[in-house]
Amino acid sequence: MNIVGISACTVGIAHTYIAQEKIEAAAKKAGDNVKIETQGTIGIENALTDEDIAQADIVILAVDVKISGEERFAGKKVIKVSTQTAIKSPNKLIEKLHELGRQ
């Protein structure tokens, strides 16, 4: 499955990047292609391209704050959780993405 997403937390220096790592690791373990854009204090990194988004089966937003560019996902299946959920149960989250992505 092709998964793209965004992580962003309140202060933008810690949880954002831990959530990115956890989601990417769990998705890779499940055999998915995955790319998570981070929106933190340093701005946007690992930015999703139009092509990344076009090819995605599902979009995961692990965000605690308002993000920029959410409209890029119009027409896509989008799941929104907190960064805490992504950090706490990344494997369960990926399972959920698989369920919804298949529908």
Binding site: T10, V11, I13, A14, H15, T16, Y17, I18, A19, Q20, E21, K22, A25, T38, G40, T41, I42, E45, D64, Q84, I87, K88
Partner: protein
Amino acid sequence: MEEFFQAQDIIDPKTVLVHLEAHNKKEALQKMAEALRKTGYLKDTEKYLKDVYLRESKGATGIGGYIAIPHGKSSAVQKIGVAVATLDEEIEWETLDEHGVRGIVLFAVGDDDEAAQDHLKLLALFARKLGRESVVTALLNADTAQDVQAAFSDN
């Protein structure tokens, strides 16, 4: 990100406190902030801690697996840095699982980001590593500051 810098470069051995004696969160944060101040990362310990507690009030900084990542963006920060502490005994902390905390990574970031983009990038790279189980395990087992640095150099 330039490959030039590596995540472990953010760790200053002078602000690594292995086997820290602290019986609660307050004591641990106080000692860690003091270490940051003494080595020139903070201008003012109390003011910085106020900003750290402000973040604490907004949600758990215990990320599970015995690790906590308290952090504050504060005008009391002189330069970007981290303090790392390991504790022999678990202390109480607001966490995402049923455990307390035995490893603490305290981030110090100033409120002027413009000047410090490179360091912030390094800090992001460093934070990311805390999402890896192998890094966390190595950190919790660290006996020396060098062990702590080695924990984060794991690719």
